[in-house]
Symmetry: D3
Subunit: 315 residues, 6 copies
């Protein structure tokens, strides 16, 4: 009966043994495996999600999680508790981020990375009032910029722009503190939820609003002024990038656009390279732009034509 | 030892106290805080997700959740139970939505909002057979419109178009009943999952299909006829909007396109303003269109040119 | 008091009874209901998510889940255990997929579908080393292609491109084995997370990278060579499709582009129809292309114009 | 560095390999391993918990789970839905129970056990009205018997006696239908929660109440009449049991007490063997009884004495 | 095929319909159903568990949940936040408890019960410092009384006595405030975990310790002095209770023992009736006692005898 | 309106502030708070539960968790993976246990405790084959000893005795390795589930069976031979314990019974002090025994008497 049973097994002994051999051969895994030399685990997406939920609750009292029942007279307690909790969670994940490739090779744990994580955490937390200030301008911009918005509160609770920017503004502060890895994870988490992909290195001014948001891409070295509004599908990208001697892109070169104050860029426009969009300009939808434009420019796509290739088919 | 320990603490006493002071100052939080005067909590995203799961199970018997084992002879029980459950969940969330800024200022709870929530719930539920009918036409349209679809069932189970429209058609009925806030939350939930962003106020006819879907945006006052098909990245947006005396956009003005029956709009096309796309028209991909076109138009983007700026670099 | 209470109930008896009647009428549900004749349940999204988590952990040792603590000396045990677990989960879901419309009509369960599911599972598992090899080239491509990437590991852990391709390369192998339904569910799961929508039938070469990713669409019959890079919003779609006598699109006809090796296609470009993009070509952003281009072509959108319609309004 | 790292690993390669060898040797596992020849999994404690929650909700409308909002006008829907759900869950677990050692050795699944499980499920369900009747008498007995009870409802919601008896009366019906294994699991689940251990084979009359309950034990062949009340720590056990030729206890022989109607047995009393406690008797606390007593007996422990051994120590 | 399928269904149409009829007949459910006239739901066991977890964390800083990382310098924030959270949870559950049978019959919700719940919550919270004081004496008693205990902390973290008493001392304060139903639920929750069943009405002095605990029962009107120690299986119960004219036990009469200070009662002793155990007494194991004993008594069970009934059998 | 709202708040500002002051005063918390000087958290009950589930799955292949589908040909992989997983979990919890009061006072983490935890983990794991052997004898004893058991497998899956002993035998090995705190937590977890409380320090021979189990207590220094069977409510306790000069019980003195091989002790018997129960003895139910008895003794409680105090009342 043993034989019979084995024959019905989904995966037989010889197959599983052969596959284990293949998948455990160093030449199979060496380019896709990660090994922590300090037994420090990978950053945890669940923990970072929880951290962001805590920070979101703390930044917007009365809306989310443990602080969803806002009363001024008890606010101090909840803010203090949330700060303490967030500090521990952040320090733990930063340690993991620093240790991800610190390559020190010493013993269990990595006290250097732990120390650095605590310092960065403290500096970061002291930036929270500033982060809240920036987000408050983003909330106002979302309300002012969308005729469908009924109240600023609505944009805090359900607009992709504010949700993404909460992650982004946290990630950007960490990026400024030379934290590796974690900032990008935070923006990717919000990218997955909103379809917005602003690199944590981008410099973004006050009152930023991304209407609808899906497909927006803003590169690492982009500089965006105050009161800028982007619509879905806008790209502020790199035109091309110089290669090093191995033919790989040189990292860290300014290569994305500078967008000055009070600019509006409509859906699907693509602006590439270290160009400057002068203040007060309006860029039309679907425009492809690789040159600087002076302040108060009005740029639009070429006029659409009548059909010339659409005959004779279903389309 | 106490001192030592404290020095190692992630966040020291003076830092946390200072941050609490800053973050609890009214000038810090007043623009980002929400206060419920009736102790009615914010709408719950978890509860609304569960509501939608219940409605989805109920609308598409045999596919989801508690109704996933469809048999005609027991269907009545499951439909009745799901209706009863959904009615309670919806009434609760509607109460929260109404009370979010009813500003009545009386005592705990808000019996006016509760009463209104119950009435709206009843009216909404009586629209469920109609909602199912509309969705059945959307399912057929998805099957007919996608050569990769093997069966209508496949589109119910896994197509973003049908998933989004389930949320949308529910949200739209609530929008018609003057429910604030909740409809937008429902479409944003589906926006996050699918990348499709159709405002709950948009009027959408039967047999609507959005292939792939990511990046589609349809504005609040858009009117879409029967048998319309959109591809990914299509925008039916506002060209500009009149401002009020404070320079803020006037709300509620018709400002989005009218798309008549049997129109197809290909990927990335952007149509802005209160223009009319005549019935049977086909709009090509990436087109930027701000004018009305007559029935049966064929519109395409300008012919692409040879490269003129692409020399000498990696791109 | 009974009457009173009933009046307050959210949904009264007569309403619920009437709605149950309407919603349980065959003419209401027949186009949106699914009935399994073998009492085989629908595929489970939760189980498929768990399967993908197991495969992801197995393919990238040291990064995820149960294999997140990589050590060569214990790898065999974890790989073997994960393989055994994955085989059971996959066979179960494949059975459901085959049985979804096998329409055999015999008794409980469907031994034919179970047998086929086991065979397909075995064949699929033996392809895992190859899948890992392909993904290792995709990881390298992501690292090489993005100046913002600090290490290949970072792209494994957080880049949408690698995440989508993990689901895709699994789904594609199942597609090649004539598995219905399941492959599309797997890519839709990743579509929801990343905004990338590559049909599981597409043929994708080694070293594939989709930067940012949101809005990318690649159709079922597309053929993509080695070392191809796409940016967000790129469409490799069908121009139109021949209809059958009922006016419905003919299924299975090659209708999507062929993209040869070493091609780069920038953000928002739309390429439609069975055209060929010659090897080494670069297609500019927002281009609309429906014709083949020879190797090493450089294609860009028409030059943007000065504003001619933007006067007098907010835009 | 590899060596170093390995030295720090919690469990080194040679240790894990040696342990795997030892633990996978048949002589190590053969007495503690279970092998399903039909790939039918073990009964699931989680599923049985969920089944009991469903039945509990169904039996006591208005108290638990999906039926916790009782209204007569919608009760039918919830009862029907819960019955349908319970029937599927029970049939699945019964199949596993039957197949646990059916030893048939044929192919995947075991259609014989499935068929039998369906039949037993149907018969069991038709006993539900009777089970509810019995429980309604138990509820009344708990209320009548405990001066601390404020309402019958309180005993349904929080008394160990009613909670245990709900599992027991379900398990007993399954026991009568010759279901192996599952009945005992159901009573053990409730044993763990309440400290009460009544074997599912015991025959228990109406109006049964176990006050406090912890430590009560009632054996498989016990017979308990109507209106019996037990206090904590009461044992209705076997005095001794005849052995078979291998010296193992003979199974299935009547070996536990018969307790007639209207008997009260106080805390800690131990009654052993096939004795009869005549109707209306009262057995005092801590009594050890191995003989039958006539109706209306009053039995108490020997009178306590003064201390004779307690001098000179802490006690 | 329909017929065939139906025949295989676990539960056929006629059976389910018949069972629904039976189970929805008022005569079937009327003695086991609960109906809330105010649409106020039943107390939630999950919420009460969470409440107790919050109070446990708050009472024992550094051990549990959100307060498990104790530092004096941030304690205020966590205590304040936990108090605010606990107050909301308690008020909600008390409302449900009061409304369970307030029978007022007016409209949705019950503002009277809500008001009363808020008042009781406030009074209860102001008793928390006292509750903590009592528990601190219980912790010390557990440490002093058990030679196996290595530290007081160990008893806080894992001893059944302290765990039960945490629930009990909370429940007792609520009992003193005339809260119905909820106190008993709280002690039953701990009864299920520990096997200890002390009624919330019992008056228990400082430094109370129940070693091992399983099977201990203390009745509603018991009075226990300071520094009392009980071992497993001890009962402080009622001997009998006067009946009212319907033959049902009169509620609220003092009927359980008074145990004075510094008494030790060993395992399995049963003390029944309104008797007094004088201070400093020691009651031996398994004693059955229904009379008062003077201070400093030493009471033991009758001396065991040689076997007289054990011949000739396995025992 | 602010005032009004505040008046309705469950807990007002002055109350919460006052309570925070009281509860954060050192004199309030100092006897109930725990402070980790190394920022090493408390042991986690959830993690220890998960550890026990992993060990249980590993010890009894084919019954539980990840190893519930037993096949000899893949067993090695699952055993190896489970061992590796268990080793990490155990080392982490042991570190917490050692550090709970190591009081070293140095920096974050405690490398000494970590090192010791790793060593103990390795030693413990090498005892697993022996633990499995002991449990296999316990399984056999449960099957042999209970006429109601249908198969040894049934006792593995659902008998309290085997469940408790799994935790106990693991805890006992850790106790022998001088692990503080954790062993007691493991037995208390099983105590809560089964009502059995055997101290991890007790020495228990092979083939141990506790029928029903509720209320059994075995003390730290008890010695139990092979093939011993206990029934519910049996106590092997201390009679009294010498006090130190502060009047607190001296810890670590042999103070519990020695029970030799082949002894049976029936329900509710209480055996106290360092007495010896000679091999082959049978102790009757409810016996109170504080003296040694020779081999093959038969001990029973005094003969019950006729009622002398039961007249004239309900009992």
């Amino acid at each position: 009966m043993g034989l019979d049973t084995e024959n019905q097994a989904v995966i037989q002994e010889d197959l599983i043994n052969r596959l284990v051999d293949e998948l455990c051969a160093p030449e199979s895994y060496e380019r896709v495996a990660h090994r922590s030399y300090h037994h420090v685990p990978m950053p945890s997406l669940e923990a970072l999600e929880e951290l962001m939920e805590t920070l979101r609750a703390l930044l917007f009292p009365g809306f989310f999680g443990l602080l969803d029942d806002f009363r001024p007279e008890t606010l101090r307690y909840h803010v203090g508790a949330a700060l303490d909790q967030a500090s521990g969670m952040l320090a733990e994940q930063l340690t993991r981020g620093f240790c991800f490739d610190c390559g020190d090779g010493s013993r269990d744990g990595c006290s250097q990375c732990e120390e650095r994580a605590r310092e960065v955490t403290r500096t970061f937390l002291s930036r929270l009032p500033h982060i809240r200030y920036l987000l408050s301008t983003d909330v106002q911009a979302a309300y002012d910029g969308d005729p469908a918005a009924k109240s600023p509160a609505e944009t805090i609770f359900s607009y992709p722009s504010v949700r993404f920017l909460t992650n982004f503004r946290v990630a950007h502060e960490l990026y400024l503190l030379d934290v590796p890895f974690i900032p990008r994870i935070l923006t990717e988490m919000a990218h997955s939820q909103t379809g917005i992909d602003v690199h944590p290195g981008a410099q973004i001014g006050e009152r930023f609003f991304m209407d609808h948001g899906t497909g927006i891409v803003v590169g690492e070295t982009a500089v965006v002024g105050h009161n800028v509004r982007l619509y879905q599908g806008v790209t502020l990208g790199a035109l091309s990038f110089p290669l090093d001697e191995q033919g790989r892109p040189l990292k860290g070169i300014p290569r994305h656009p500078i967008v000055e104050d009070d600019v509006i860029i409509y859906a699907g426009a693509t602006i590439l390279g270290r160009v400057t969009i002068g203040r007060g300009s309006i860029i039309g939808g679907n425009v492809w732009l690789t040159q600087s434009v002076p302040p108060c420019s009005r740029i639009a796509q070429g006029r659409p034509r009548d059909p010339y290739f659409l005959e004779g088919s279903g389309i």
